[in-house]
Symmetry: C3
Subunit: 158 residues, 3 copies
Protein backbone atom coordinates (compact mmCIF):
# COMPACT_ATOMS: atom_id res chain seq x y z
CA UNK A 1 0.00 0.00 0.00
CA UNK A 2 1.54 3.26 -1.02
CA UNK A 3 1.04 6.01 1.51
CA UNK A 4 2.03 8.92 -0.67
CA UNK A 5 -0.76 10.93 0.89
CA UNK A 6 0.36 10.29 4.46
CA UNK A 7 3.63 12.15 5.07
CA UNK A 8 4.01 10.94 8.68
CA UNK A 9 4.48 7.39 7.35
CA UNK A 10 7.53 8.29 5.26
CA UNK A 11 10.81 10.05 6.04
CA UNK A 12 12.24 11.44 2.80
CA UNK A 13 15.00 13.97 3.27
CA UNK A 14 14.98 17.05 1.02
CA UNK A 15 18.27 15.99 -0.58
CA UNK A 16 16.86 12.77 -2.07
CA UNK A 17 16.88 12.82 -5.89
CA UNK A 18 13.94 10.92 -7.38
CA UNK A 19 13.53 9.97 -11.05
CA UNK A 20 10.16 9.89 -12.76
CA UNK A 21 7.45 7.51 -11.66
CA UNK A 22 9.16 6.26 -8.51
CA UNK A 23 6.85 4.38 -6.15
CA UNK A 24 7.67 4.72 -2.46
CA UNK A 25 5.77 2.53 0.00
CA UNK A 26 4.91 3.27 3.60
CA UNK A 27 7.54 3.57 6.34
CA UNK A 28 10.56 4.26 4.15
CA UNK A 29 13.56 6.25 5.36
CA UNK A 30 15.60 7.82 2.56
CA UNK A 31 18.33 10.45 2.74
CA UNK A 32 21.00 11.70 0.37
CA UNK A 33 20.37 8.97 -2.23
CA UNK A 34 19.53 9.06 -5.94
CA UNK A 35 16.84 6.81 -7.42
CA UNK A 36 16.36 6.31 -11.17
CA UNK A 37 13.11 6.26 -13.12
CA UNK A 38 10.38 3.70 -12.46
CA UNK A 39 11.88 2.30 -9.25
CA UNK A 40 9.77 0.64 -6.56
CA UNK A 41 10.88 0.96 -2.94
CA UNK A 42 9.14 -1.37 -0.49
CA UNK A 43 7.95 -0.88 3.06
CA UNK A 44 10.45 -0.55 5.95
CA UNK A 45 13.36 0.19 3.59
CA UNK A 46 16.24 2.49 4.50
CA UNK A 47 18.57 3.90 1.83
CA UNK A 48 21.51 5.96 3.02
CA UNK A 49 23.49 8.88 1.70
CA UNK A 50 25.30 8.62 -1.67
CA UNK A 51 23.60 5.41 -2.72
CA UNK A 52 22.88 5.35 -6.46
CA UNK A 53 19.95 3.22 -7.65
CA UNK A 54 19.49 2.74 -11.40
CA UNK A 55 16.24 2.74 -13.33
CA UNK A 56 13.54 0.13 -12.90
CA UNK A 57 15.09 -1.34 -9.76
CA UNK A 58 12.78 -3.09 -7.30
CA UNK A 59 13.82 -2.89 -3.65
CA UNK A 60 11.59 -5.11 -1.54
CA UNK A 61 10.49 -4.59 2.05
CA UNK A 62 12.79 -4.63 5.10
CA UNK A 63 15.95 -4.04 3.05
CA UNK A 64 18.83 -1.80 4.13
CA UNK A 65 21.13 -0.15 1.57
CA UNK A 66 24.16 1.58 3.05
CA UNK A 67 26.40 4.36 1.81
CA UNK A 68 28.81 3.11 -0.82
CA UNK A 69 26.35 0.94 -2.74
CA UNK A 70 25.58 1.37 -6.44
CA UNK A 71 22.81 -0.60 -8.13
CA UNK A 72 22.82 -0.53 -11.92
CA UNK A 73 19.55 -0.67 -13.88
CA UNK A 74 16.97 -3.44 -13.48
CA UNK A 75 18.31 -4.88 -10.23
CA UNK A 76 15.90 -6.92 -8.11
CA UNK A 77 16.59 -6.78 -4.37
CA UNK A 78 14.52 -9.20 -2.27
CA UNK A 79 13.09 -8.70 1.21
CA UNK A 80 15.34 -8.21 4.20
CA UNK A 81 18.56 -7.87 2.22
CA UNK A 82 21.35 -6.14 4.16
CA UNK A 83 24.36 -4.44 2.57
CA UNK A 84 27.48 -3.99 4.72
CA UNK A 85 30.11 -1.31 4.06
CA UNK A 86 32.50 -2.17 6.89
CA UNK A 87 33.71 -5.74 7.46
CA UNK A 88 35.17 -4.98 10.87
CA UNK A 89 32.73 -2.63 12.56
CA UNK A 90 33.29 -1.55 16.14
CA UNK A 91 32.31 1.28 18.39
CA UNK A 92 35.99 2.10 18.92
CA UNK A 93 36.60 2.54 15.16
CA UNK A 94 33.43 4.59 14.82
CA UNK A 95 34.41 6.95 17.63
CA UNK A 96 38.00 7.25 16.34
CA UNK A 97 36.67 7.75 12.81
CA UNK A 98 39.24 5.30 11.50
CA UNK A 99 36.86 3.01 9.61
CA UNK A 100 36.94 3.06 5.83
CA UNK A 101 33.94 2.65 3.62
CA UNK A 102 34.03 -0.45 1.40
CA UNK A 103 32.04 0.01 -1.81
CA UNK A 104 29.64 -2.46 -3.42
CA UNK A 105 28.39 -2.54 -7.01
CA UNK A 106 25.51 -4.69 -8.27
CA UNK A 107 25.44 -5.17 -12.04
CA UNK A 108 22.53 -4.66 -14.38
CA UNK A 109 19.68 -7.13 -14.10
CA UNK A 110 21.11 -8.99 -11.10
CA UNK A 111 18.73 -10.58 -8.60
CA UNK A 112 19.45 -10.70 -4.85
CA UNK A 113 17.35 -13.23 -2.93
CA UNK A 114 15.52 -12.39 0.29
CA UNK A 115 17.65 -12.36 3.41
CA UNK A 116 20.93 -12.15 1.49
CA UNK A 117 23.85 -10.34 3.13
CA UNK A 118 26.30 -8.53 0.83
CA UNK A 119 29.66 -7.76 2.42
CA UNK A 120 31.71 -4.64 1.80
CA UNK A 121 34.02 -4.58 -1.22
CA UNK A 122 31.97 -7.10 -3.18
CA UNK A 123 31.07 -6.60 -6.84
CA UNK A 124 28.25 -8.65 -8.30
CA UNK A 125 28.15 -8.95 -12.08
CA UNK A 126 25.30 -8.29 -14.50
CA UNK A 127 22.57 -10.91 -14.46
CA UNK A 128 24.01 -12.74 -11.45
CA UNK A 129 21.59 -14.49 -9.08
CA UNK A 130 22.13 -14.55 -5.30
CA UNK A 131 20.17 -17.23 -3.46
CA UNK A 132 17.92 -16.49 -0.50
CA UNK A 133 19.92 -16.25 2.71
CA UNK A 134 23.32 -16.23 1.00
CA UNK A 135 26.21 -14.46 2.72
CA UNK A 136 28.23 -13.02 -0.16
CA UNK A 137 31.86 -12.52 0.85
CA UNK A 138 33.56 -12.44 -2.58
CA UNK A 139 32.90 -11.04 -6.04
CA UNK A 140 30.31 -12.86 -8.14
CA UNK A 141 30.86 -13.03 -11.90
CA UNK A 142 28.18 -12.01 -14.37
CA UNK A 143 25.40 -14.52 -15.08
CA UNK A 144 26.48 -16.73 -12.17
CA UNK A 145 24.30 -18.18 -9.42
CA UNK A 146 25.58 -18.43 -5.85
CA UNK A 147 23.98 -19.57 -2.59
CA UNK A 148 24.88 -20.61 0.95
CA UNK A 149 26.91 -19.37 3.93
CA UNK A 150 29.40 -18.30 2.74
CA UNK A 151 28.03 -18.11 -0.80
CA UNK A 152 29.43 -20.57 -3.36
CA UNK A 153 28.76 -21.02 -7.07
CA UNK A 154 25.79 -23.26 -7.83
CA UNK A 155 25.82 -23.26 -11.59
CA UNK A 156 26.31 -20.89 -14.50
CA UNK A 157 23.00 -19.47 -15.58
CA UNK A 158 21.64 -20.97 -18.80
CA UNK B 1 3.65 -1.02 22.50
CA UNK B 2 0.36 -1.00 20.73
CA UNK B 3 -0.37 2.29 19.06
CA UNK B 4 -4.01 1.71 18.29
CA UNK B 5 -4.66 5.33 19.17
CA UNK B 6 -2.08 6.68 16.72
CA UNK B 7 -3.29 6.04 13.16
CA UNK B 8 -0.18 7.56 11.54
CA UNK B 9 1.90 4.69 12.99
CA UNK B 10 -0.14 2.00 11.20
CA UNK B 11 -1.15 1.46 7.58
CA UNK B 12 -4.21 -0.79 7.51
CA UNK B 13 -6.01 -0.84 4.18
CA UNK B 14 -9.82 -0.78 4.24
CA UNK B 15 -9.94 -4.25 2.67
CA UNK B 16 -8.22 -5.98 5.59
CA UNK B 17 -10.53 -8.44 7.39
CA UNK B 18 -9.82 -8.66 11.11
CA UNK B 19 -11.21 -11.28 13.50
CA UNK B 20 -12.10 -10.50 17.06
CA UNK B 21 -9.48 -9.39 19.55
CA UNK B 22 -6.66 -8.93 17.08
CA UNK B 23 -3.70 -7.00 18.46
CA UNK B 24 -1.80 -4.89 15.94
CA UNK B 25 1.44 -3.26 17.06
CA UNK B 26 2.99 -0.04 15.82
CA UNK B 27 4.32 0.36 12.27
CA UNK B 28 2.42 -2.47 10.60
CA UNK B 29 1.48 -2.43 6.93
CA UNK B 30 -1.48 -4.67 6.08
CA UNK B 31 -3.54 -4.84 2.89
CA UNK B 32 -5.98 -7.31 1.40
CA UNK B 33 -5.34 -9.97 4.06
CA UNK B 34 -7.57 -11.85 6.49
CA UNK B 35 -6.58 -12.37 10.13
CA UNK B 36 -8.39 -14.79 12.45
CA UNK B 37 -9.44 -14.21 16.04
CA UNK B 38 -6.95 -13.46 18.80
CA UNK B 39 -3.94 -12.93 16.53
CA UNK B 40 -0.98 -10.78 17.53
CA UNK B 41 0.89 -8.90 14.79
CA UNK B 42 4.24 -7.44 15.84
CA UNK B 43 5.95 -4.20 14.97
CA UNK B 44 7.36 -3.60 11.46
CA UNK B 45 5.32 -6.45 9.94
CA UNK B 46 3.95 -6.39 6.39
CA UNK B 47 1.20 -8.78 5.29
CA UNK B 48 0.19 -8.70 1.64
CA UNK B 49 -2.97 -9.27 -0.31
CA UNK B 50 -4.79 -12.64 -0.14
CA UNK B 51 -2.80 -13.91 2.85
CA UNK B 52 -4.94 -15.96 5.23
CA UNK B 53 -3.89 -16.09 8.87
CA UNK B 54 -5.71 -18.51 11.20
CA UNK B 55 -6.81 -17.88 14.75
CA UNK B 56 -4.40 -17.32 17.63
CA UNK B 57 -1.36 -16.90 15.36
CA UNK B 58 1.53 -14.84 16.67
CA UNK B 59 3.51 -12.96 14.01
CA UNK B 60 6.59 -11.39 15.58
CA UNK B 61 8.30 -8.16 14.60
CA UNK B 62 10.10 -7.51 11.30
CA UNK B 63 8.36 -10.38 9.48
CA UNK B 64 7.14 -10.24 5.88
CA UNK B 65 4.26 -12.43 4.66
CA UNK B 66 3.70 -12.36 0.91
CA UNK B 67 0.67 -13.10 -1.23
CA UNK B 68 0.08 -16.83 -1.55
CA UNK B 69 0.75 -17.71 2.09
CA UNK B 70 -1.78 -19.46 4.33
CA UNK B 71 -1.14 -19.94 8.04
CA UNK B 72 -3.43 -22.36 9.80
CA UNK B 73 -4.42 -21.83 13.44
CA UNK B 74 -1.92 -21.44 16.28
CA UNK B 75 1.14 -20.81 14.12
CA UNK B 76 4.08 -19.05 15.77
CA UNK B 77 6.18 -16.93 13.38
CA UNK B 78 9.39 -15.56 14.88
CA UNK B 79 11.08 -12.22 14.23
CA UNK B 80 12.42 -11.32 10.81
CA UNK B 81 10.91 -14.31 9.01
CA UNK B 82 10.63 -13.81 5.23
CA UNK B 83 8.26 -15.75 2.98
CA UNK B 84 9.11 -15.93 -0.73
CA UNK B 85 6.53 -16.57 -3.46
CA UNK B 86 8.86 -16.52 -6.46
CA UNK B 87 12.06 -18.59 -6.53
CA UNK B 88 13.44 -16.85 -9.60
CA UNK B 89 12.57 -13.18 -9.18
CA UNK B 90 13.81 -10.63 -11.68
CA UNK B 91 12.86 -7.20 -12.89
CA UNK B 92 12.45 -8.58 -16.42
CA UNK B 93 9.87 -11.17 -15.29
CA UNK B 94 8.07 -8.55 -13.20
CA UNK B 95 7.80 -6.12 -16.12
CA UNK B 96 6.75 -8.89 -18.52
CA UNK B 97 4.27 -10.18 -15.93
CA UNK B 98 5.44 -13.71 -16.61
CA UNK B 99 6.22 -14.70 -13.03
CA UNK B 100 3.95 -17.19 -11.31
CA UNK B 101 3.00 -17.11 -7.67
CA UNK B 102 4.19 -20.14 -5.68
CA UNK B 103 1.96 -20.85 -2.68
CA UNK B 104 3.03 -21.72 0.85
CA UNK B 105 1.00 -23.39 3.61
CA UNK B 106 2.03 -23.58 7.25
CA UNK B 107 0.18 -26.24 9.25
CA UNK B 108 -1.56 -25.84 12.57
CA UNK B 109 0.65 -25.24 15.57
CA UNK B 110 3.89 -25.01 13.61
CA UNK B 111 6.70 -22.79 14.89
CA UNK B 112 9.01 -20.82 12.58
CA UNK B 113 12.21 -19.61 14.21
CA UNK B 114 13.46 -16.04 13.90
CA UNK B 115 15.25 -15.21 10.68
CA UNK B 116 13.89 -18.26 8.84
CA UNK B 117 13.35 -17.99 5.07
CA UNK B 118 10.48 -20.01 3.57
CA UNK B 119 10.75 -20.55 -0.18
CA UNK B 120 7.84 -20.60 -2.58
CA UNK B 121 5.96 -23.85 -3.07
CA UNK B 122 6.87 -25.20 0.37
CA UNK B 123 4.32 -26.82 2.66
CA UNK B 124 5.16 -27.14 6.34
CA UNK B 125 3.17 -29.70 8.30
CA UNK B 126 1.26 -29.31 11.55
CA UNK B 127 3.43 -29.00 14.62
CA UNK B 128 6.67 -28.76 12.64
CA UNK B 129 9.51 -26.68 14.06
CA UNK B 130 11.79 -24.56 11.86
CA UNK B 131 15.07 -23.54 13.48
CA UNK B 132 16.26 -19.95 13.67
CA UNK B 133 17.93 -18.89 10.44
CA UNK B 134 16.86 -21.96 8.48
CA UNK B 135 16.39 -21.63 4.70
CA UNK B 136 13.49 -23.97 3.95
CA UNK B 137 13.63 -25.16 0.34
CA UNK B 138 11.50 -28.33 0.55
CA UNK B 139 8.35 -29.53 2.27
CA UNK B 140 8.62 -30.30 5.97
CA UNK B 141 6.52 -33.15 7.35
CA UNK B 142 4.27 -32.71 10.38
CA UNK B 143 5.91 -32.81 13.80
CA UNK B 144 9.41 -32.62 12.28
CA UNK B 145 12.23 -30.27 13.23
CA UNK B 146 14.54 -28.81 10.58
CA UNK B 147 17.42 -26.33 10.72
CA UNK B 148 20.34 -25.04 8.67
CA UNK B 149 21.07 -23.67 5.20
CA UNK B 150 19.46 -25.35 3.37
CA UNK B 151 17.23 -26.78 6.10
CA UNK B 152 17.67 -30.46 6.98
CA UNK B 153 15.85 -32.71 9.42
CA UNK B 154 17.22 -32.59 12.95
CA UNK B 155 14.96 -35.08 14.67
CA UNK B 156 11.34 -36.09 14.85
CA UNK B 157 9.63 -34.19 17.63
CA UNK B 158 8.95 -36.25 20.75
CA UNK C 1 17.74 10.92 9.31
CA UNK C 2 16.69 11.65 12.83
CA UNK C 3 13.06 12.59 13.12
CA UNK C 4 13.14 13.97 16.64
CA UNK C 5 10.74 16.66 15.54
CA UNK C 6 8.19 14.22 14.11
CA UNK C 7 6.61 12.30 16.99
CA UNK C 8 4.36 10.18 14.74
CA UNK C 9 7.49 8.51 13.34
CA UNK C 10 8.61 7.19 16.73
CA UNK C 11 6.94 5.16 19.47
CA UNK C 12 8.75 5.78 22.75
CA UNK C 13 6.86 4.63 25.81
CA UNK C 14 6.91 6.90 28.87
CA UNK C 15 8.78 4.25 30.88
CA UNK C 16 11.88 4.29 28.65
CA UNK C 17 14.97 5.57 30.50
CA UNK C 18 17.34 7.49 28.22
CA UNK C 19 20.89 8.56 29.11
CA UNK C 20 22.38 11.80 27.87
CA UNK C 21 22.92 12.45 24.20
CA UNK C 22 21.03 9.42 22.92
CA UNK C 23 20.24 9.57 19.19
CA UNK C 24 17.00 7.87 18.14
CA UNK C 25 16.28 7.52 14.42
CA UNK C 26 12.92 7.39 12.69
CA UNK C 27 10.48 4.51 13.14
CA UNK C 28 11.81 3.14 16.43
CA UNK C 29 9.62 1.30 18.93
CA UNK C 30 10.97 1.36 22.49
CA UNK C 31 9.27 0.39 25.74
CA UNK C 32 10.43 -0.38 29.26
CA UNK C 33 14.13 -0.35 28.34
CA UNK C 34 17.12 1.61 29.64
CA UNK C 35 19.68 3.14 27.28
CA UNK C 36 23.04 4.52 28.46
CA UNK C 37 24.71 7.75 27.42
CA UNK C 38 25.70 8.48 23.83
CA UNK C 39 23.88 5.52 22.28
CA UNK C 40 22.67 5.52 18.68
CA UNK C 41 19.50 3.59 17.82
CA UNK C 42 18.87 3.05 14.11
CA UNK C 43 15.70 3.08 12.05
CA UNK C 44 13.12 0.28 12.37
CA UNK C 45 14.57 -0.93 15.70
CA UNK C 46 12.45 -2.42 18.49
CA UNK C 47 13.77 -2.72 22.03
CA UNK C 48 11.56 -4.49 24.57
CA UNK C 49 10.92 -4.21 28.26
CA UNK C 50 13.78 -4.68 30.77
CA UNK C 51 16.54 -4.53 28.15
CA UNK C 52 19.64 -2.75 29.46
CA UNK C 53 21.88 -1.05 26.90
CA UNK C 54 25.24 0.32 28.10
CA UNK C 55 26.86 3.58 27.10
CA UNK C 56 28.07 4.35 23.59
CA UNK C 57 26.33 1.31 22.06
CA UNK C 58 25.39 1.51 18.38
CA UNK C 59 22.27 -0.43 17.40
CA UNK C 60 21.87 -0.42 13.63
CA UNK C 61 18.64 -0.46 11.62
CA UNK C 62 16.13 -3.34 11.50
CA UNK C 63 17.41 -4.92 14.73
CA UNK C 64 15.18 -6.48 17.39
CA UNK C 65 16.28 -6.69 21.04
CA UNK C 66 14.02 -8.78 23.25
CA UNK C 67 13.40 -8.81 26.98
CA UNK C 68 16.23 -10.51 28.83
CA UNK C 69 19.09 -8.94 26.87
CA UNK C 70 21.87 -6.89 28.45
CA UNK C 71 24.43 -5.07 26.32
CA UNK C 72 27.49 -3.80 28.18
CA UNK C 73 29.22 -0.59 27.09
CA UNK C 74 30.55 0.01 23.56
CA UNK C 75 28.71 -2.85 21.87
CA UNK C 76 28.19 -2.61 18.12
CA UNK C 77 25.04 -4.33 16.84
CA UNK C 78 24.77 -4.53 13.05
CA UNK C 79 21.66 -4.30 10.87
CA UNK C 80 18.89 -6.86 11.09
CA UNK C 81 20.25 -8.63 14.18
CA UNK C 82 17.63 -10.67 16.02
CA UNK C 83 17.90 -11.73 19.67
CA UNK C 84 15.83 -14.73 20.80
CA UNK C 85 14.78 -15.33 24.41
CA UNK C 86 12.92 -18.61 23.90
CA UNK C 87 14.50 -21.53 22.03
CA UNK C 88 11.24 -23.46 21.76
CA UNK C 89 8.56 -20.88 21.04
CA UNK C 90 4.99 -21.98 20.39
CA UNK C 91 1.54 -20.54 20.60
CA UNK C 92 0.56 -23.28 23.06
CA UNK C 93 3.34 -22.31 25.49
CA UNK C 94 2.52 -18.64 25.10
CA UNK C 95 -1.15 -19.20 25.90
CA UNK C 96 -0.33 -21.53 28.81
CA UNK C 97 2.28 -19.03 30.04
CA UNK C 98 4.72 -21.87 30.59
CA UNK C 99 7.62 -20.49 28.58
CA UNK C 100 10.69 -19.27 30.45
CA UNK C 101 12.79 -16.32 29.47
CA UNK C 102 16.38 -17.18 28.55
CA UNK C 103 18.76 -14.29 29.18
CA UNK C 104 21.55 -13.04 26.90
CA UNK C 105 24.56 -10.89 27.82
CA UNK C 106 26.86 -9.20 25.31
CA UNK C 107 30.22 -8.14 26.76
CA UNK C 108 31.90 -4.77 26.48
CA UNK C 109 33.15 -3.78 23.06
CA UNK C 110 31.74 -6.83 21.26
CA UNK C 111 30.65 -6.52 17.62
CA UNK C 112 27.65 -8.39 16.19
CA UNK C 113 27.57 -8.58 12.39
CA UNK C 114 24.49 -7.76 10.34
CA UNK C 115 21.89 -10.49 10.13
CA UNK C 116 23.28 -12.40 13.12
CA UNK C 117 20.85 -14.40 15.25
CA UNK C 118 21.65 -14.73 18.97
CA UNK C 119 19.84 -17.58 20.71
CA UNK C 120 18.52 -17.49 24.25
CA UNK C 121 20.89 -18.34 27.09
CA UNK C 122 24.00 -17.28 25.16
CA UNK C 123 26.71 -15.11 26.69
CA UNK C 124 29.13 -13.35 24.37
CA UNK C 125 32.38 -12.17 25.92
CA UNK C 126 34.04 -8.76 25.81
CA UNK C 127 35.56 -7.86 22.47
CA UNK C 128 34.13 -10.91 20.69
CA UNK C 129 33.25 -10.60 17.00
CA UNK C 130 30.19 -12.30 15.49
CA UNK C 131 30.27 -12.64 11.70
CA UNK C 132 27.45 -11.44 9.46
CA UNK C 133 24.67 -14.00 9.27
CA UNK C 134 26.00 -16.17 12.09
CA UNK C 135 23.52 -18.19 14.15
CA UNK C 136 25.01 -18.17 17.65
CA UNK C 137 23.83 -21.18 19.64
CA UNK C 138 26.56 -21.37 22.33
CA UNK C 139 28.58 -19.03 24.50
CA UNK C 140 31.40 -17.13 22.76
CA UNK C 141 34.55 -16.42 24.76
CA UNK C 142 36.02 -12.96 25.02
CA UNK C 143 38.10 -11.71 22.08
CA UNK C 144 36.99 -14.62 19.90
CA UNK C 145 35.61 -14.48 16.36
CA UNK C 146 32.81 -16.82 15.24
CA UNK C 147 30.84 -17.15 12.02
CA UNK C 148 28.54 -19.55 10.18
CA UNK C 149 25.37 -21.56 10.78
CA UNK C 150 25.69 -22.67 13.51
CA UNK C 151 28.47 -20.30 14.50
CA UNK C 152 31.96 -21.78 14.95
CA UNK C 153 35.25 -20.25 16.01
CA UNK C 154 37.21 -18.68 13.16
CA UNK C 155 40.29 -17.50 14.99
CA UNK C 156 41.30 -15.76 18.19
CA UNK C 157 41.42 -12.03 17.64
CA UNK C 158 44.98 -10.62 17.42
Amino acid sequence: MSSAGSPPCQCIAPDVVLGRNVRLNAFVNLYGCTLGDDCMIGTFVEIQRDVIVGSRCRIQSHTFICSGVTLEDDVFVGHGVMFINDRHPSVAATLARTWQLERITIGRGASLGSGALILGGVNIGAGAVIGAGAVVTRDVAAATTVAGVPARILAPRQ
